[in-house]
């Protein structure tokens, strides 16, 4: 049974992700954002469900499609938005962009542009906690595409072997870029790979935030109790293409997209909260408006922020002096 | 051994010759030195002689044929000798054309554009160049000891040392070769050979100048510019005929006195002093002399003269008047016996007609002569005669 406060928090986070992503898409299509944006609209339940099971001092690493994960872990949308704009006030001073946002204070060890690269890294974080003797856990998000990389296999093997306090969360949105799952792996349920590496593999409905939350919470308990890592698969769907601007019509049928959109995770949760009488509509609407304003302000903040100065390109290559 | 007979190179500029007459028939006997063939080149006929006694085995060119230098025209072999004609021809082609006979008096090797240095880009290391620039050392002429014979820092420093011994800063080193070397050798030879005496005579050139001015338009009409030098050539030629011991040469233990006058004109060129010779000036008119001398001087300056232009001089005139020199003692152009140095033509105040003061054109004639051959009296006589002509309008007129 989840307390109301937590439920509201979870709802707020989901809305925040949804509105942030929608805004990012809108801005990108207007042409004001440099680079790429990989939207996670449709996957809010996985991000929020999983991160809600973590403490602030637990660690998380994400992917190129990481906005949702990062917001779910508590990141500030104004700093995120500024980073998307490439401004000096962004999370990474404009040096990383959409795919590389990090907030070490919140335990967000960044996102990576290389598919699967975060998985070996999360082991290191977990290892450090183990060495230090704390009960902190580390969670790694990755997609179905990443489950085929060498990094995935090496890392899961090592985590299982060393009994690392890790939760591996696979956001299986059924497509690796433009390739459907059935065309990139023989198996249907990635969760079965857990057994290969000596850890439980759990399959969940990734659009039900409570289901995800439950599964991750159990895995977190295990990890804190030093019972080792868990692989959790969350079946979900991304509403937009691989990147914003990819219509995805060449590789996904319109009907399929429509089907999944009917199972909108934010809408589902909202309905659930009302049905279970956890709160009133008014409260939800308040949250909606609050988050809307937040996003507006974040955009304004980002747009009014200064660009990085050219000299800054040479900063932070190393700790210490730049090596020419 | 079978020998190929080829068209010889008879002068530096000769390129081809025409076969005029075969003096022998194919298969006929020849003696060594006997003329086998007459060829013509540049209006000169030349007799080709057999190099050995034997048979004129093969004639390879017809009368009237025009052939380049080096072309084989016949083969001479010993009686009964067997040979392969193709081999002979091939061997002959490999032999270079015989060097033209160098006139013994002029040991200068003149090529159309002067002595040629082998054009090579100076290879020097960046460090060497920097030091050379700093120390103002010319890289030219430095021997390189670096990789690929490039000039290194050490080479530059060594050159600097050598060139700056004491307080002399050598800015350039000119190798003594070609014309420069030849001039140096000739000067030494002349200096050591002839005991030289100089006589200077001041000549009133007013009449000569007037004479030239009067006839200028006439001459221009004939397409000719007559310079004072040309007048001098004519006058000297005349004087030399009258005082022939000046027009002579010491040859071993006899003195050759020449009947014709060939005047050498000293010309200053970029490559050094060159003295082309105007032949038989005693027989030429003033206009002819003027025409020929101008052509000769131009060709000399353009570097287009050959050894033939330097031959047979009997007397040399050298004029430094244009450089403002009043008087000087040139070195005799061996094997001649005398040389005339001409000084500056200048306006001076003179006493004429007894005690009148007038402004006249005046010029020094400086005769340097070989006292083995010429006595002071002859020299003085020669100069007097020259002066007489130059100062007398009637005698000048006769020069035309």
């Amino acid at each position: 049974m989840i307390q109301k406060e937590k439920s509201m928090e979870m709802y707020e986070k989901m809305v925040r992700i949804r509105l942030f992503e929608e805004k990012a898409v809108e801005l990108f299509l207007k042409g004001v954002l440099p680079g790429f944006v990989h939207s996670s609209i449709g996957q809010e339940a996985v991000s929020v469900g999983a991160c809600s099971a973590l403490r602030r001092d637990d660690y998380m690493i994400s992917t190129h499609r990481g906005h949702g994960d990062i917001i779910a872990k508590g990141a500030r949308v104004d700093l995120m938005m500024a980073e998307l704009f490439g401004k000096r006030t962004g999370y990474c001073k404009g040096k990383g962009g959409s795919m590389h946002i990090a907030d070490l204070d919140l335990g967000i060890l960044g996102a990576t542009g290389i598919v699967g690269a975060g998985i070996p890294i999360i082991n290191g974080a977990a290892l450090a906690c183990q060495l230090k003797g704390t009960d902190q856990v580390s969670l790694c998000f990755f997609g179905d595409g990443a489950s085929n990389t060498g990094s995935f296999h090496e890392a899961l093997n090592l985590a299982g072997l060393w009994n690392l306090p890790v939760i591996f969360v696979c956001q299986n949105n059924l497509y690796a870029e433009s390739t459907p799952q059935r065309d990139h792996q023989k198996i249907q349920n990635i969760s079965i790979r857990g057994e290969s590496y000596g850890m439980p593999g759990v399959m969940t409905d990734g659009n039900d935030v409570l289901v995800v939350y439950q599964a991750v919470r159990e895995a977190v308990e295990r990890a804190r109790k030093k019972a080792g890592p868990t692989l959790i698969e969350c079946k979900t769907y991304r509403w937009l293409g691989h990147y914003v601007g990819d219509p995805s019509t060449s590789y996904r049928r319109k009907e399929e997209v429509e089907e999944w959109r009917k199972r909108d995770p934010v809408k589902l949760y909202r309905e659930n909260l009302l049905k279970m009488q956890v709160c009133f509509v008014k409260e939800l609407e308040e949250i909606d408006r609050k988050v809307e304003r937040e996003i507006e302000e974040a955009v304004a903040f980002a747009q009014n922020s200064p660009d990085p100065r050219p000299e800054e390109a040479f900063e932070d290559v190393y700790v210490g002096e730049y090596i020419p | 051994m079978a020998r190929a007979i080829t068209i010889p190179k008879l002068g530096l500029t000769m390129e081809k010759a025409t076969i005029v007459t075969w003096m022998k028939e194919e298969g006929g006997r020849v003696e060594k030195g006997e003329t086998i063939c007459i060829i013509e080149t540049d209006k000169i006929n030349f007799e080709i002689e057999s190099p050995e006694a034997g048979i004129l085995i093969k004639i390879l060119a017809k009368e009237g044929a025009v052939l380049p230098v080096g072309e084989i025209i016949a083969v001479v072999a010993k009686e009964g000798e067997t040979f392969d004609i193709d081999t002979v021809i091939k061997q002959a082609k490999e032999v270079k054309a015989p060097l033209e006979e160098r006139p013994s008096e002029i040991p200068i090797a003149i090529s159309p554009s002067g002595p040629r240095e082998e054009r090579r880009e100076t290879k020097a290391s960046p460090l060497a160049r920097r030091i050379a620039e700093e120390k103002r050392v010319d890289l030219e002429g430095i021997r390189g000891t670096g990789p690929g014979r490039s000039i290194t820092k050490e080479d530059v420093l060594r050159a600097f040392e050598e060139r700056t011994a004491g307080s002399l800063q050598i800015s350039k080193k000119i190798p003594l070769k070609g014309i420069r070397k030849a001039i140096a050798e000739r000067m030494i030879l002349s200096w050591h050979t002839a005991p030289r005496v100089t006589q200077v005579m001041e000549v009133d050139m007013t009449e000569a100048v007037r004479f030239r001015d009067e006839h200028r338009s006439n001459w221009e009409a004939q397409g000719v510019r007559v310079s004072l030098n040309d007048i001098l050539i004519k006058v000297m030629s005349q004087a030399l005929r009258e005082v022939p011991e000046i027009n002579s040469s010491m040859k071993g233990d006899e003195i050759e006195v020449y009947g014709n006058v060939n005047i050498g004109i000293a010309v200053a060129t970029e490559r050094g002093l060159i003295v082309p010779v105007l032949q038989n000036t005693h027989r030429k008119s003033l206009v002819e002399i003027a025409r020929e001398s101008s052509v000769l001087i131009q060709r000399t300056q353009d570097g287009k003269i050959g050894p033939d232009d330097l031959k047979f001089g009997t007397f040399t005139i050298t004029n430094l008047g244009a450089y403002g020199i009043d008087l000087f003692t040139p070195i005799i152009n061996q094997p001649e016996s005398a040389i005339l140095g001409v000084g500056k033509l200048d306006r001076k105040v003179k006493v004429i007609d007894g005690d009148k003061i007038a402004i006249r054109w005046v010029m020094n004639l400086c005769l340097v002569f070989d006292h083995r051959v010429i006595d002071g009296a002859s020299a003085a006589q020669f100069l007097s005669r020259a002066r007489e002509i130059l100062e007398n309008p009637n005698q000048l007129k006769e020069l035309l």
């Binding site: 660690y59 962004g90 999370y91 990474c92 404009g94 040096k95 990383g96 590389h100 990090a102 070490l104 060890l109 960044g110 990576t112 542009g113 290389i114 690269a117 998985i119 070996p120 890294i121 999360i122 082991n123 290191g124 974080a125 977990a126 290892l127 450090a128 906690c129 183990q130 060495l131 060498g150 990094s151 090496e154 890392a155 093997n157 090592l158 072997l161 060393w162 900063e315 932070d316 290559v317 190393y318 700790v319 210490g320 002096e321 090596i323 | 290391s125 960046p126 460090l127 160049r129 920097r130 390189g144 000891t145 670096g146 990789p147 690929g148 014979r149 490039s150 290194t152 820092k153 050490e154």
Partner: protein, 324 residues
């Protein structure tokens, strides 16, 4: 002064740092009971325990990633990649993640780790076990590359490398482990980025790395008999490179010969040659000479291997060519 082997000196350095700082731990293949393929870590398991001297599966990507993750949390891992030839499997983690996290995250993170590896030929270990691949890593901004060749240097530099907050690729040479040299009893550290003039001379500057330093020194002895005095400069660190020492030496001698065991083409020698041409052009009295291994994979048969790897004779010949 006592003389100990390169291996022993290296081990001492590791031990001293592990004693000093709990955050320092080792991971790699066969480093625990076995003591490492080249016995560098022998005895350390007994002293520091399994937690800090960890055997890993054969998973170079996982090893490098784990090192990064731990470093992000403030640990100081020293990961061993058994042969530099195997580092290819960890390339993504090294080049894209380890080298770049600090920069991408706007200076928030630091990858304070050392990757120890070794390379080099001379034992007929053939194409996959004999390469010198340092040039790859010198190319990547964000990494430092260290290549010590004497017992004194290796101990001083492993200590400073571990203490450095930046990621360091520490490249040893398999044929140097048994070489003995003087090493003080007292503690000392060699700063990263400082070259060492191993032999002074006035006629030619020889810049050499790793085992080629030894060959250069022997060549110098031989040349000395003919009155040619070679100055042998060991950069010790390739990134950051001690340009000053090299340039000063060239100014003194006017001639530069570079020798490394890496393939000649695009080896680090090319960088040094370019540097000399840019900054010491007017000090050069002869063209710059580069000697490297032949541009072939390293062959197996000893005669062939000796043929392709540069030796003293080549160095001597090269020097003589420069002297004209």
């Amino acid at each position: 002064m006592r003389k100990i082997t390169y291996r022993a000196a290296l081990r001492e350095g590791l031990r001293e740092e592990m004693q000093k700082d709990e955050c320092v731990f080792l991971l790699g293949e066969d480093i625990a009971e076995f003591g490492g393929t080249y016995k560098v870590t022998q005895g350390l398991l007994e002293e520091f325990g399994q937690a800090r001297v960890r055997n890993t599966p054969i998973s170079e990507a996982a090893i490098a990633g784990a090192a990064l993750g731990a470093a992000l949390l403030g640990m100081r891992p020293v990961a061993e990649i058994m042969y530099i030839d195997f580092s290819t499997i960890a390339m993504d983690q090294i080049v894209n993640q380890i080298a770049k996290v600090r920069y991408m995250f706007g200076g928030k993170a630091k990858a304070s780790l050392v990757i120890r590896t070794q390379g080099g030929a001379g034992r007929s270990s053939a194409a996959h076990h004999a390469q010198s691949l340092e040039a790859w890593y010198t190319h990547i901004p964000g990494l430092k590359v260290v290549m010590p060749c004497t017992p004194y240097d290796v101990k001083g530099l492993i200590k400073s490398s571990i203490r450095d907050d930046n990621p360091i690729i520490f490249i040893e040479h398999k044929l140097l482990y048994n070489e003995e040299g003087p090493v003080p009893e007292e503690e000392y550290v060699i700063p990263i980025g400082k070259a060492d003039i191993k032999r002074e001379g006035k006629d030619v500057t020889i810049v050499a790395t790793s085992r080629m330093v030894m060959r250069a020194l022997r060549a110098a002895e031989s040349l000395s008999e003919d009155g040619i005095e070679a100055e042998v400069v060991d950069p010790r660190t390739l990134v950051p490179l001690d340009e000053e020492t090299i340039l000063q030496s060239i100014k003194k001698t006017g001639r530069l010969l570079i020798i490394h065991e890496a393939y000649r083409r695009c080896g680090f020698g090319a960088e040094i040659a370019a540097l000399a041409s840019e900054k010491a052009f007017y000090d050069l009295d002869a063209p710059i000479k580069r000697i490297g291994a032949a541009n072939t994979p390293v062959p197996f048969a000893p005669q062939l291997e000796n043929f392709v790897i540069p030796d003293e004779r080549e160095i001597i010949k090269g020097v003589r060519e420069l002297l004209g």
